[in-house]
């Protein structure tokens, strides 16, 4: 096992520990659409973060979700966004919340699905705060590092789904040439 594979394994293990679920998919728009359709088949109402997501999906299944409204967001069962980075040690993802609707779709619906490119996984939270990253902060006026679904223990026991989603599903996109791994 090389370092990169070890890093991915650490990411998987840590992410599961936060309460998230994970699956892998090859970087092929049809496959991604298929995977998403499987995950969302029970959802009545779906919102997406931005055009990029819509463009990466094929077919007309997602097409009516062009621009979310507050009402739509509030009632949606599911929000889909990209994560621009994954963090292995903590099992977290980083989502842009300044542009697009990422802030809302990752927060208001009951379930959040995040798409993450495997090559964007780093080891420590501090690894995303490189000098280059900070310098390019223009593009990241706001980011949120998400580690599992929202949770609280304030009511006397641990409850998943406090003010935010009660479920977080991570879809990890691998380059097409990598042999498919088992689902986790």
């Amino acid at each position: 096992m090389n370092d990169r594979e070890a890093l991915i394994n650490i990411f998987m293990e840590s992410a599961l520990k936060t309460g998230a679920s994970i699956e892998f998919v090859k970087n092929n728009s049809e496959l991604i659409t298929k995977t998403l359709r499987n995950s969302v088949s029970i959802a009545n109402s779906i919102v997406v973060a931005d055009e990029e997501i819509l463009n990466s999906l094929t077919g007309d299944y997602f097409s009516d979700n062009s621009i979310p409204t507050l009402e739509k967001l509030e009632k949606a069962d599911l929000g889909i966004s990209y994560a621009f980075a994954g963090i292995a040690r903590t099992g977290s993802i980083a989502v842009n919340i300044d542009s697009g609707y990422g802030a809302y779709v990752s927060l208001l619906p009951q379930k959040h699905i995040a798409l993450l490119k495997i090559e964007n996984i780093v080891y420590n939270p501090r690894d995303i705060f490189t000098e280059d990253f900070v310098n390019s902060f223009e593009a990241h006026n706001g980011i949120v590092v998400i580690s599992g679904p929202s949770a609280t223990a304030d009511m006397g026991e641990l409850v998943k789904g406090a003010h935010g989603p009660s479920r977080l599903h991570l879809i990890i996109i691998k380059p097409e040439e990598i042999v498919e791994e088992n689902e986790a």
Binding site: E74, P125, T130, F137, A151, T152, V159
Partner: protein, 730 residues
């Protein structure tokens, strides 16, 4: 039933003991369960950070640098915030901060404000200010939501409602909201509160959050949470106000994750909490068309408050409290805090070990009266991600309070307890006066009244002969040609009460061919320090060190059997000795007896089993070992467990941070009940360990020994005594 708020202000005489009583009766169970969970999770979370120690050094360095350069940083931050399009306001005090926020609200004709968790807003009593101006404030953090309806102050800096049980919350919700269906489970209660608050979020005019950290270079704010309410607070309403103290500013954005990693692991014991936001408001987040509240342009205000912090910065003794990142590790790792929580061990806003300095800094020194609950056990020291000497802060507070009450009864009691040595010697000379005391109800009643010793406690009874005298009488081999030389410092506890452990150690040293000497027995300052009599402790420290330096210069290692005295040499004297070089010398050359035995064996290329044979215990090789809080902190406990295990002893180690006795603490009538409550955790663990047969009880410290002896009504020996029993012939 009294409301915790009535007894929150610890400057009022009687509030401390009233709040202890209330906490032990009502809140202790929840606080204990929750803090102990945080505590054990923290241990595993920090062990997953590969460079934990280096990260702590880095965090400390950044905080020192930031506080040092605070005025410049604030100027830089002001520029950054303005460049980003936000507004910046530096408030001198609570009144100015509340006034500004009120004006912002009024300028938007705000009727409803949603608030994320902000302890700073508690400090300045923002809610009542806004409410009196007709602005409704909705606390959205679920714990704060509970407190808003139960009208209580926070009992913990991270989990403000940690003292509330599910049953109590359920009862509160039924009374306050009269829901159609009963709310019983955590799930039902959470769902109910979430729905209630969603409505507030969607209708709020303004959102107010705190800020865990702010980077001066870009104006980036870090916000740490698990629920998502803070994210909703800063992203749904059109106006966002972030309110925090000036000490939260650090120079560089790149360094934010250093603190975030430490904060999450040290606090709730998670790698990271569910959400960590890094925002540079006002955000460009698109306007939602059907949200009438959301104007085209978002507005952001950063309100920083001073409110005593500049004075703290100029105070050499309190300054380090400004490094605090509010992780709560010092609360969760504190045995006393675990027993009573922050309604007793805390003031109107700030709680726990670090809370004293903050109540003093932002209020008055009298409000920090709960610092008495810090026993100096020091378990918080290695847990603090920015290496704050929290017991040191509390000793300072105690000293300042004592200086203010020149003639009070408390002061006299402190003097008596800090002169434990004289007290003990007196008892010793008068043919075991303490035995008489223990047998006399009248005398014990008088002790309670005048010295503050609880009548349920027995005073330790001195041994018939001191360690020093026993040592002189004993025939031993003189190992004058030995290359290893030690001098035993006969601490008062070993000398007057438990000479057996000293003698056992001497016998082992003889067996190992080590040259042994005995130094003078003089008070080392532990009792003075725990009473907060710093000047007296410093005097004693100088005296002891001068005496021991002569030995160190001649190649001797210093050993003391009592962990609390060893901790002075290795840790506390750093603050007490004027000459730091002397401290480092003493620090380097002083050892716990078993730590030293372990080193000697290593040097002599021997295995512990070459000298100690478990067979000599005739099958009684199952032990329960309770280390000592300070021994753990100075990392001198491990050799004891190692040596026992390597010689074939079956060791179960206690999992409590401290036994609860902590020197004279457990003797005091005001604190006796806390001491016993803490002891119960330890006794439960012993009973659990005894399930496969009664174990030999071992404890390194005298206080722990007394606590276990009284609680279990069973003999307790020092591990060195067990080793002596196992010692083979030459």
């Amino acid at each position: 039933m009294i409301n915790p708020r009535e007894v929150a202000d610890k400057s009022i005489t009687g509030n401390l003991s009233k709040s202890i009583k209330m906490s032990l009766e009502i809140e202790s169970e929840s606080v204990r369960k929750n803090t102990q969970t945080f505590n054990s999770n923290r241990y595993s979370a920090v062990s997953a950070i590969d460079d934990y120690q280096e990260l702590k050094d880095k965090a400390r360095e950044i905080k020192e640098h930031s506080i040092e350069n605070l005025p410049e940083l604030l100027k830089q931050l002001e520029e950054s915030v303005k460049t980003n399009g936000g507004k910046f306001y530096l408030a001198k005090n609570a009144e100015a901060a509340c006034g500004y926020i009120k004006r912002v609200c009024q300028s938007h004709k705000a009727k409803l404000v949603v608030k994320g968790k902000s302890i700073t807003s508690e400090e300045i009593k923002l809610n009542s200010e806004l409410e009196s101006a007709g602005i409704q404030v909705a606390e959205t953090d679920l714990a704060e939501f509970i407190l808003q309806y139960s009208d209580e102050q926070p009992s913990h800096i991270v989990a403000p409602a940690i003292h509330q049980s599910r049953e109590r919350i359920s009862k509160l919700f039924m009374e306050k909201f009269n829901p159609p269906k009963p709310l019983i489970t955590g799930e039902e209660l959470t769902r109910f509160a979430r729905n209630k608050l969603r409505d507030k979020f969607l209708n709020a005019d303004i959102g107010i959050t705190g800020a865990n950290l702010i980077a001066a270079d870009t104006g980036t704010i870090a916000l740490v949470e698990s629920e998502g309410n803070i994210r909703l607070t800063y992203s749904l309403p059109p106006v966002h106000i972030a309110l925090t103290g000036i000490e939260k500013v650090i120079p560089s954005t790149e360094d934010l994750p250093v603190f975030i990693e430490l904060l999450a692991a040290s606090g709730t014991g998670q790698a990271l909490t569910s959400y960590t936001s890094f925002i540079r408001p006002p955000l460009n987040l698109p306007v939602l068309k059907d949200n009438k509240k959301l104007k085209d342009k978002r507005e952001f205000h950063l309100v920083l408050i001073d409110n005593g912090r500049t004075a703290m910065r100029e105070d050499d003794e309190l300054r380090q409290a400004l490094y605090c990142i509010r992780c709560s590790a010092c609360l969760n790792s504190c045995a006393n805090f675990q027993a009573v929580g922050g309604h007793a061990f805390g003031g109107e806003t700030y709680t726990g070990g670090i809370g004293g300095a903050w109540e003093a800094g932002t209020g008055t020194i009298e409000k920090a009266g709960f610092a008495e609950l810090c026993t100096g056990c020091s378990r918080c020291i290695p847990q603090c991600p920015v290496r704050i000497d929290i017991p040191g802060l509390n000793e300072t507070i105690k000293q300042r309070l004592t200086n203010k009450n020149k003639l009070s009864k408390e002061k006299i009691q402190k003097q008596i307890l800090s002169n434990f040595t004289i007290f003990a010697k007196f008892g010793h000379r008068l043919n075991r006066l303490n035995k008489f005391v223990n047998n006399s109800r009248t005398v014990r009643l008088l002790l309670k009244k005048f010295v503050g010793i609880d009548r349920n406690r027995k005073l330790p009874e001195s041994a018939p002969i001191t360690f020093a005298k026993m040592y002189k009488k004993q025939k031993r081999d003189i190992n004058a040609d030995s290359t290893i030389k030690v001098v035993i410092f006969p601490d008062v506890y070993t000398n007057l009460y438990f000479p057996e452990r000293g003698i056992a150690f001497v016998n082992i040293l003889n067996r190992l061919g080590v040259e042994v000497s005995l130094s003078k027995s003089i008070p080392a300052g532990r009792a003075s320090l725990s009473q907060g009599l710093i000047k007296q402790a410093a005097k004693r420290a100088e005296h002891v060190t001068d005496h021991l330096m002569g030995y160190i210069d001649n190649g001797y290692s210093i050993i003391t059997c009592e962990p609390s005295v060893l901790a002075l040499f290795r840790q506390d004297y750093k603050n007490l000795l004027k000459d730091k070089e002397k401290f480092f010398n003493l620090h380097l050359h002083s050892y716990d007896p078993i730590e030293f035995i372990y080193l000697v064996l290593k040097q002599q290329n021997k295995k512990p089993s070459d000298i100690f044979n478990a067979e000599k215990l005739y099958g009684k090789n199952q032990v329960f070992y309770h280390g000592h809080c300070q021994l753990k902190t100075i990392d001198a406990q491990r050799p004891t467990i190692q040596i026992l295990e390597e010689t074939g002893i079956d060791v179960i180690t206690s999992e409590v941070e401290c036994c609860g006795m902590a020197g004279s603490f457990g003797y005091k009538k005001d604190f006796y009940d806390i001491s016993i409550r803490i002891g119960e955790d330890l006794f439960r663990q012993i009973k659990e360990a005894d399930k496969q047969g009664e174990r030999t009880l071992l404890a390194s410290g005298v206080s722990c020994r007394d606590q276990i002896f009284e609680g279990m009504n069973r003999g307790v020996i020092h591990p060195v005594q067990l080793l002596e029993m196992m010692m083979t012939e030459v």
